[in-house]
């Protein structure tokens, strides 16, 4: 049991020298804002995957991206939840449903949705990263980097021009 991904993070002694977490309202608020975005991203990635499910071989690459995105957002959700509790905060729950920025009805729109979800994760990570330190900052900076990479891959898979596909400063308004 102790080898499953979600329980591994409970073995705190590895990363935190200070052992007992202390309340940090500023960090908890910043991480909670990012967590709210991750709840929505999971909903959106799941919607994209569901739209792609019946589309057969032409949608295979996009399905792979949707599945990977869902797993990554879920992992980030779980890590954020732990860190918010450690910081003495109350992790926000997911809403029952979200308004999607793009309605996924085919491969192109599903890929566009996936890219936009990760743009939002990148932006939320950018907003949060200065408010946290230590392991939380590591998590958030890596979340920004990975969200930017996923958005890039989704856009390239949708046929975007590699020369113009990237923003100069991912996550920055």
């Amino acid at each position: 049991m102790a080898t499953t991904g979600t329980t591994a993070a409970a073995s705190q002694p590895a990363g935190t020298p200070q052992g007992t977490p202390s309340p940090d309202p500023k960090a908890a608020a910043a991480l909670s804002a990012l967590l709210a975005v991750e709840h929505a991203a999971m909903y959106g990635a799941s919607s994209a995957g569901g739209a792609l499910a019946p589309l057969g071989a032409p949608a295979r690459d996009a399905r792979g991206l949707a599945l990977a995105a869902y797993a990554a957002h879920r992992e980030l959700r779980d890590r954020l939840t732990e860190l918010i509790l450690d910081a003495g905060g109350e992790p926000p729950a997911a809403l029952p449903a979200y308004t999607l920025p793009v309605r996924p009805v085919d491969v192109q729109s599903a890929l566009t949705l996936l890219a936009e979800l990760d743009d939002r994760t990148a932006a939320a990570a950018y907003d949060a990263v200065g408010a946290v330190t230590g392991p939380a900052r590591e998590l958030v900076v890596d979340a920004l980097g990975q969200a930017a990479l996923r958005a890039l891959r989704a856009r390239l898979t949708a046929g975007a021009n590699p020369v113009t596909v990237l923003p100069a400063l991912p996550g920055r308004p």
Partner: protein, 176 residues
Amino acid sequence: MLAMPAAGLAAAGLAGAAGCTQSLPDDPAPPPADLAAAEAAARTERGLLAGYDAAIARHPGLAGLLGALRAHHAQHLAALTTQVPALAGPSPSASATATGSVGAATPTNAASPGVDDSPAARASALARLAEAERTAAGAHRSGCLSTTTGLAPLLASLHAAESCHADLLSLAGSAG
């Protein structure tokens, strides 16, 4: 059926801004840790600019992609200088020594520094730049972890940008 809570993605995104505590450009002098991190990041960006300049001169066939990525690095340097104006002052091009190691000016085939748009030369240039971008991404990540709050968002964004550059360059290299 999706019309439930309009709180939605947009609201969640807006809420993120509440955690935004970056320093403003007109802040007074940054703390020493931030200045050191900013200087290191600026050196990294100058090194990448030099690497792209050399690669673009040598491989004109790659100018489209490399020119776009080079422009990003110019923006990165500008963003650093805007946030830490002290960077614009005394930064001699002595950093060029450090930048040479980015691998631009040292073609492995030791041929003339002229134009070489052969597929092999282009592939090796793309691989060298991808490696330099990966190194830069790691350096910006370290800088982000060591700095105080003010510079952390920019360095995190630079980390993400260079990671994406490395990915694009690797894809371009494997596509031939």
